[in-house]
């Protein structure tokens, strides 16, 4: 049972990690711009236009 729970948690974490990586690469979004306050369109941590 413990194995199942830990494996399930890891699987979910891995899914979200891979989805995050895929979205970043696909949308050209920076990790530093992932915060909600800049909605991926702008942020204070880059000084170049994001290439969409």
């Amino acid at each position: 049972m413990a194995t199942f729970i830990v494996a399930a948690v890891l699987a979910v974490a891995l899914f979200f990690a891979l989805r995050h990586i895929y979205r970043n690469f696909h949308e050209g979004k920076s990790d530093c711009c992932g915060a909600s306050e800049c909605s991926g369109s702008c942020c204070g941590c880059h000084s170049v236009p994001e290439k969409k």
């Binding site: 413990a2 830990v6 890891l10 990790d31 702008c42 000084s47 170049v48 994001e50």
Partner: protein, 631 residues
């Protein structure tokens, strides 16, 4: 009621971003690099029950649409319905700043002229009569002091008023516009027209200045006095090296490293033991305990231990940026950097590369031209980052015990030489047609705003944390699977998929003297993170507890000499292996950063392949020439 649309424009370094922050509370980088804001920033404010949207446009010196910043500004101002455009003018540089103001008025854009840094101007003996300036230009003028809530309230009052409807260009400006139109309609060549128009603009500025500005000589400013010492032709370089030495000592010795060591101990000893015991006691299967503890905590933990270094380094650099010293560094280093195909600003990212390639690649954002930024991003990984040091230290101690320090130093030098050659090569080939400009304004020295420094440090550092939880997490799981399984199921590491892949990879090094599957697997795992090269070698050669700390290299070398590694390498093949490790494909985190910073898969793939090819060729030359010389 409809939202009031306001746009902020002006020269770089006029305190526009500070005003934007004061008005909106939005987070934005505030630095002393001229041209820090290239993308469009939008913020919102509420005042007197009116909603106000404020756009912070990139700082530009003109609107000739030659640079991306100029294009953004003119496109935005001409193609959007705006209620108010505020031109932020640095009062202490009013003459130069009015050039943009005049250009905007020529385009028929009504402006609210904000004379910012009024206090600085006063200290420099510059007195501006707002009423006379209003009369001369026919536009409303307001005086502000950047970081002041009083100034912000004053501006918000104006935004919500109907003040702009009371103004129209003065006769002086109208006459100038007619003159410019006449020049444009004349049959002269384009360059002649441009020359005449610029002359007409300066004639108008001279007239306006004569009417509204009085200047008294107050001698040297505080910044000029400091510059006499810090930017002095003789002392500048030694002072710069001393300051950078201080930054590196703070980061890698005094503050960052002790915290990193404590975090390392916490994660890789305390937490690892706790997790192992907890999972085992809970009855979790052995393979899953191994995946969580050896794979994930080991992999992600290794990266997390760098977080204190990253944050401390970024804090120091943001602080220096805020003081205005960074602009001086670029100025001091420009002649030297130009010989390498870059401009002065390229020095900072490259220096960071000796610590870690990831912040160094990210640091290239500060560079103005695309050419400089791309070249810097693509050559930085050649440098010896902290993660490569254990490889160099271990091999040098094992195979060159009498000259270990010299060999390690030679590896550092080889990285620098390769970066210079690559910078020159890329600058004169792929990026040949892209202009490299170096327009540098030396901002006044000032005490940085700590809130901005901390925000900037957090903004830069948090991306590293996000990566640790995503890319490194996923990569750790993959590496664990590859090193513990083959196609028949669980197996020993020498029968694993990693061993098979290492065997394939080793075929590439038949002429390099290190064609063993262990070397291949170690180099392959090094693409995940360079630190893992030594750890993988240790595991594969049967000394699993070998330290990956550079400081323990001699002890580790002693352990490794008892294993098969001593017979797998000769001194020459070890040197070839070190050269290859120094120069080959960056780690996945660096590759991800290159992808992000350079703007696509293409550059990431290019970086991975070209560095591998260069490493392969140079390593081959080292081995084969060494053999010819009888080593």
């Amino acid at each position: 009621m409809a939202t009031i649309a306001v746009a902020l424009t002006g020269n770089p370094n006029t305190g526009k971003s500070t005003i934007f922050n004061e008005l909106t509370g939005a987070r934005q980088k505030i630095g002393n690099w001229p041209g820090v804001t290239v993308d469009k920033k939008v913020g919102y404010a509420r005042h007197q029950d009116r909603a106000i949207s404020i756009v912070d446009l990139p700082g530009t010196y003109s609107i000739n649409a030659r640079s991306p910043e100029e294009k953004i500004v003119i496109d935005y101002l001409m193609n959007n319905k705006l209620d108010l455009v505020m031109d932020v003018v640095d009062s202490s540089n009013i003459e130069r700043n009015l050039f943009l103001t005049v250009q905007l008025l020529e385009k028929g854009i009504p402006l609210l002229i904000d004379l910012n840094m009024a206090d600085d101007a006063e200290r420099r003996g510059i007195k501006i009569d707002c009423r006379k300036l209003e009369d001369a230009l026919g536009m409303p003028v307001v005086q502000t002091v950047g970081r002041s809530s009083k100034s912000a309230r004053k501006l918000l009052d104006i935004f919500t008023s109907t003040v702009m409807s009371n103004y129209e260009p003065s006769q002086l400006v109208k006459d100038h516009i007619i003159k410019v139109q006449e020049i444009e309609a004349s049959g002269k060549t384009e360059s002649e027209k441009q020359e005449e128009i610029i002359e007409a603009r300066y004639a108008l500025i001279d007239t306006v200045i004569a009417q509204a500005v009085t200047m008294s000589n107050v001698g040297q400013t505080k910044s000029e006095k400091i510059d006499r010492f810090l930017a002095n032709g003789v002392l500048a370089l030694p002072i710069f090296l001393a300051i950078m030495y201080g930054v590196f000592m703070i980061t890698f010795e005094w503050i960052g490293q002790p915290i990193a060591d404590a975090l390392d101990s916490l994660i890789n000893e305390d937490f690892l033991d706790f997790a192992t015991d907890a999972l085992t006691d809970a009855g979790v299967a052995e393979w899953l305990v191994s995946l969580v503890c050896d794979g994930i905590i080991g992999g992600v933990g290794a990266v997390l231990t760098f977080v204190p270094l990253i944050f401390v380094l970024f804090f120091c650099l943001s602080f220096l940026d805020g003081t205005g010293y960074m602009a001086r560094i670029a100025f001091i280093m420009d002649p030297i950097m130009r010989r390498c195909g870059l401009t002065g600003k390229g020095i900072m990212p490259l220096m960071m590369g000796f610590g870690c390639g990831v912040p160094a690649i990210m640091g290239a954002r500060a560079l103005d031209s695309e050419k400089d930024r791309m070249v810097s991003i693509l050559v930085t990984p050649f440098l010896t980052c902290g993660a490569k040091l254990p490889i160099m230290a271990l091999f040098a101690a094992m195979f060159f015990p009498d000259n270990a320090a010299n060999v390690v130093f030679a590896m550092y030098i080889s990285g620098v030489i390769m970066a210079i050659i690559a910078a020159k090569g890329l600058g004169s080939s792929i990026f040949k047609d892209k202009g490299s400009t170096f327009l540098l304004e030396l901002p006044p020295y000032r005490m940085p705003d700590m809130k901005s420094v901390l925000l900037e440090t957090w903004d830069k550092g948090k991306g590293y944390l996000v990566k640790a939880g995503t890319i490194i997490f996923a990569a750790s799981v993959l590496l664990w699977v590859l090193s513990n399984y083959n196609f028949d199921g669980p197996c020993e590491i020498d029968e694993s998929i990693l061993a098979v892949l290492g065997g394939w990879m080793s075929n590439l090094f038949v002429f390099h003297g290190f064609a063993t599957w262990e070397s291949g697997a170690a180099l392959l795992s090094g693409i995940m993170a360079k630190e893992t090269v030594v750890a993988t070698i240790g595991v594969l050669y049967g000394a699993a507890d070998v330290s990956t700390e550079a400081a323990d290299a001699v002890e580790s070398a002693g352990q490794m000499m008892q294993t098969g590694m001593a017979t797998s390498f000769t001194a020459l093949s070890a040197l070839a292996f070190m050269v290859f490790s120094q120069l080959y494909t960056p780690c996945v985190t660096a590759l991800g950063t290159i992808k992000k910073e350079a703007g696509g898969w293409k550059w990431m793939a290019f970086s991975a392949v070209y560095m591998f090819v260069i490493a392969w060729v140079v390593s081959l030359l080292v081995y084969q020439i060494g053999r010819l010389l009888g080593f």
